[in-house]
C-alpha cells in the first residue's frame, strides 16, 4: 500500500485529504518503461504467475507425499478437491465429472487470485474486467458449444418453456434468450465489481486515516472491511464456480 502511504504523506503536507482509490488497479510494466505491448510482463502478469505458484504449492507439493494420513497442507488440498468435486457432481450429475478439471481450474485461479489480491501492496487481477470477461466468455462459449454438440437443436428447448401456457411461451422465450445472453455480463461484472468495490472502499477509508481525529475509526473500519473482503474473496470464487456448474447443467440437461 505504498501509494496509500504516499497519499497520506501528501495529505499531511497539504493539510487536505487525497483519495486515490483506483490507483491500485493500474496495470504497469514490471521492469519500467511506458510501452505496454501484449507480451510485456506487467504487475498483472506477476500476480497471475504468483497464483500459479500458490496453486502448485497447495495442490502439487501439498499432495506430493501421498500420505494416507494427510498433513495439514494435504488436507487443505483434499478439501479443495472434494469441495469442487461435490459441487460438480451435485449440480451437473455424473456426466459433469468429465468437466471437473475445467471447473477446478476456474475455481483455483479465482480463489488464489482473490486471496493474493488481499495482501498489502498486491495487485488483484480478478478486479479487472479484462480478466473476468475472458473467464465468463470462456464459460459462456464453451457451455453454448457443448449444449449444441450434446443435444443438437434440442438445446434450443432451454428457451421454450414447455410448462408455461402456449400464449406466453414466445414472450418467455424472448426473456429467456435475453437472460441467457446477459449471463456472461453479470457473471463477469459480479466478480470484478465485488473485488473492485471492496478494495476501493478500503482505500477510501485509508485516505481518511490522514486526519488524526478519525484515524482510529478508519483503522477499525479498514480491519472490519478486510474481514468482509476475506469472506467475499471466497464467496465470489464459490459463486462464480457454482454458476459455471449451473450453466453446465443447462448444457447437459437443457429441459426445464
Amino acid at each position: 500500500m505504498a501509494t496509500e502511504a504516499q497519499g497520506a504523506e501528501h495529505a499531511a503536507e497539504s493539510g487536505g485529504l487525497v483519495f486515490h482509490p483506483m490507483d491500485q488497479f493500474i496495470v504497469k510494466p514490471l521492469f519500467g518503461g511506458d510501452t505496454l505491448a501484449w507480451y510485456t510482463p506487467t504487475n498483472a502478469a506477476l500476480w497471475m504467475g504468483l497464483s500459479i505458484v500458490a496453486i502448485i504449492v497447495l495442490l502439487v507439493m501439498g499432495s506430493s507425499r501421498r500420505a494416507v494420513v494427510p498433513s495439514r497442507m494435504q488436507s487443505v488440498a483434499e478439501l479443495a478437491y472434494g469441495f469442487v468435486h461435490k459441487m460438480v457432481v451435485d449440480i451437473c450429475g455424473k456426466e459433469g465429472v468429465k468437466y471437473f478439471p475445467y471447473v477446478m481450474t476456474l475455481f483455483m485461479f479465482i480463489v488464489s487470485a482473490n486471496f493474493l489480491g488481499l495482501l498489502p501492496l498486491s495487485f488483484s487481477t480478478t478486479s479487472h474486467f479484462a480478466v473476468t470477461v475472458v473467464l465468463a466468455l470462456l464459460v459462456f462459449l464453451s457451455v453454448t458449444v457443448l449444449g449444441f454438440v450434446k443435444n443438437g437443436a434440442a438445446f434450443l428447448g432451454l428457451f421454450w418453456v414447455s410448462s408455461a401456457p402456449l400464449a406466453l411461451r414466445p414472450i418467455l422465450a424472448i426473456i429467456e434468450l435475453i437472460s441467457y445472453f446477459v449471463r456472461p455480463v453479470s457473471h463477469s461484472i459480479r466478480l470484478a465489481g465485488n473485488l473492485m468495490a471492496g478494495h476501493a472502499v478500503i482505500k477510501v477509508f485509508a485516505g481518511f486515516a490522514a486526519l488524526t481525529v478519525v484515524s482510529p475509526v478508519s483503522v477499525l473500519a479498514i480491519t472490519a472491511m478486510y474481514g468482509l473482503e476475506v469472506l467475499v474473496a471466497f464467496i465470489q470464487a464459490y459463486v462464480f464456480t457454482i454458476l459455471t456448474c449451473v450453466y453446465l447443467k443447462d448444457a447437459l440437461h437443457p429441459s426445464h
Binding site: 451435485d90 453479470s186 461484472i189 465489481g193
Partner: protein
Amino acid sequence: MEGDLAHIGAGLAAIGSGAAAIGVGNVAGNFLSGALRNPSAAASQTATLFIGIAFAEALGIFSFLVALLLMFAV
C-alpha cells in the same frame, strides 16, 4: 458544472447498492426462516441460497459500477 452533475448522479446510483442490500437481506432472511422450520432440508439448499444472493447482489454491483463510471469515466 457537468462534473458536479456527474457526481450527483453517482450518488443517486449508489442508492442501488442499498436496494441490493435489501434484496440480499430478503433472500438470506427468508432462507433462514425456512431453514428454521425445516432444518433437515437446509443443508441441501445452501447452494441455491448462494445463487440467489449472487443474483440479487449482481444488480447492486451494476449500480455501483454506474456510480464508478460517473465518478471516474465521465
